[in-house]
Symmetry: C2
Subunit: 203 residues, 2 copies
């Protein structure tokens, strides 16, 4: 249960995320945000120290939430092939459902000062490491096609991180379906012929 103050705080952050994602962080002024919330711009400084501090808090919180879910999922002791599939479905699902904040992460990370940016990047690296490790494990087992590993990692992130530019969760493809399509394309794409298997259906 959130207190009244926490709800207001959340409302401000959500509105800011939406505005920043829609019009871009740099082109959205504090005045724009205040207007959207129906309050004075000076009042906003009660909730954050500066515009950049606001952006930083949003991104940092976003990374924490995503990381918690991803790392808990990957702590499970699954065969690497299933782990890969789970990671991709899960990752896509998280991000497809959080369009505003993914947009911020992809577009406006560079608006942070080096120190604040590094703090976020350090957390990003943790889930880059997750998928890199999974792929390395598959390579070890001879299941992976002979392709440069970093390129494969970024091919996947490219697919997912580009989604906010075109994808709408309320369109014909649900976030779950999207994750499944990405899984299928990527798994078939990077695994040795025959190593990828269909989903839980069949026999």
């Amino acid at each position: 249960m959130l207190t009244k103050g926490e709800r207001r705080n959340q409302e401000i952050f959500d509105t800011a995320a939406h505005l920043f994602a829609t019009r871009g962080y740099a082109r959205t002024s504090i005045r724009d945000l205040a207007e959207a919330l129906g309050m004075q711009k000076s009042s906003l400084y009660h909730y954050f120290d500066s515009k950049e501090d606001l952006l930083h808090r949003m991104l940092d919180q976003f990374m924490d939430q995503a990381l918690e879910r991803i790392e808990s999922l990957c702590g499970q002791d699954l065969p690497p092939l299933e782990k890969l599939a789970e990671f991709m479905r899960f990752y896509t699902h998280i991000y497809a459902g959080d369009r505003d904040r993914l947009m911020l992460l992809v577009n406006d990370l560079d608006c942070l000062t080096p120190q604040r940016r590094m703090q976020v990047v350090a957390k990003q690296r943790r889930y880059v490491a997750v998928i890199r490790d999974i792929l390395a494990e598959l390579k070890e087992a001879g299941l992976l096609a002979d392709l440069p590993l970093p390129v494969l990692v970024f091919a996947f992130f490219g697919m997912v991180h580009y989604t906010p530019k075109w994808y709408r969760p309320d369109g014909p493809v649900s976030p779950e379906e999207l994750g499944e399509v990405f899984r299928q394309v990527f798994c078939h794409g990077v695994l040795q012929n025959g190593a990828s298997k269909p989903g839980p259906e069949g026999a």
Copy 2:
């Protein structure tokens, strides 16, 4: 052969593209650009009408160049499978070699007014149509996996358009290699098992 004036013009546009790509269009001022070029900001307005006009000219010219190459390539009468492979290698190669302008296209298209933006988007749609038609042709022939076509199109664009965030042409992977990896991942990923074939090597 370029005249002296044309060279100066090109120098200004190239410098602007690099600055905008590196620091973002919105956060790069006309003053920044003037300083980078060693001239006064007012002098720049001899070469364009406004900052937005500058951005628009860069993007529009970029699209024209890319389109010319892509459409000429796809006018050739090739089997759809080879056309797909050629498109992907070619598209990746063009964009991997033109990092600054791809970055602008992906990040800053929304900084244009609706009219100017639509002019660029209309050209974008032409090569979206190219790959959509190729995939539709493959589906018709029963070579494509049963997956939603628009998602496949954007999966590919996602891979390529994300490259400026991480890829360096002078790193261990050449633009040609990158195109080849993307081709392989995507073809294996979206084609029915066995439909994708290796490159020109082999018996």
